[in-house]
């Protein structure tokens, strides 16, 4: 069973590494994300949100959905630890 799990992990890892070959180069100015998305944020974020810190504007407004589920992930981690570890004194 353990070798099977190891095999599955290795296969998935190899597939993922193979997939990274198609990524644009690190910091490539012609990549899709850098050619229209980043300039749009940099040019319009302050006008559209009145937040001088672009990171906060992207994190809280444009990518609010992502941040919401980051919070949910932390919340779930806390709930999991409590449900596994917490014991009442009477028990």
């Amino acid at each position: 069973m353990k070798t099977l799990a190891l095999l599955a992990t290795l296969c998935t890892g190899a597939l993922l590494l193979y997939g990274t070959k198609d990524f644009p180069a690190w910091g490539d100015p012609q990549s899709p994300a850098n050619s229209y998305l980043s300039p749009k944020y940099i040019e319009h974020a302050v006008q559209e949100t009145h937040v001088p810190n672009l990171v906060t504007a992207v994190l809280g407004d444009y990518r609010g959905y992502d941040t919401m589920f980051e919070t949910v992930v932390i919340y779930c981690a806390g709930m999991a630890v409590v449900s596994v570890l917490r014991r009442n004194r009477s028990q």
Binding site: E48, V51, V55, G60, Y65, T67, I74, G78, V82, R86
Partner: protein
């Protein structure tokens, strides 16, 4: 964990006046700095996650320097749980209210219908509301994780 605790008791390491006094003086400033990091996230590096961790660290520091009972005096388990749930609820609630008044989910400019501040100002203020929610949730979960793991769930003494 038990062995470590007994060892520490034998060596009389747990009761240092210097550490206790220093922590007592530092905790209010750490909490103030945590609030500053949350509130000032619009203008400087920071925001809900970072500020929440700093706030949580202040309570963890109390529990480390004194004992767990002292940290319960400042933040009881019940209040902590309420704050954590409230934080997550603020974030999702703000998003839901945006959707209910006619905008998209988490599109804060829709809140302009309730209080007319202007859609752009509402986007700025909506980010602030959300950051406060994140800060509360992260603070509560950090403290909760420390309490539970350090006392293996019994919440009596801790490290």
């Amino acid at each position: 964990m038990k062995q470590l605790q007994e060892k520490a008791k034998q060596r009389q390491l747990g009761d240092s006046l210097i550490i206790k006094t220093a922590v007592r003086l530092m905790v209010p400033f750490i909490q103030l700095f945590g609030l500053y990091v949350i509130v000032h996230g619009h203008y400087s590096p920071g925001g809900g996650f970072q500020g929440g961790v700093i706030l949580g660290a202040s309570f963890i520091l109390l529990a480390l320097a004194f004992d767990m009972k002292t940290s319960f005096k400042h933040m009881s388990e019940k209040v902590n749980a309420i704050l954590g749930n409230l934080g997550a609820a603020i974030f999702i609630g703000v998003g839901l209210i945006c959707a209910l008044v006619g905008g998209l989910f988490l599109d804060y400019s829709a809140l302009n219908i309730i209080i007319p501040l202007g859609p752009v100002e509402w986007r700025s203020f909506g980010i602030f509301l959300v950051e406060v929610g994140v800060g509360l949730a992260v603070m509560s979960i950090m403290v909760l994780l420390y309490w539970n793991i350090s006392s293996s769930g019994k919440m009596d003494e801790g490290l």
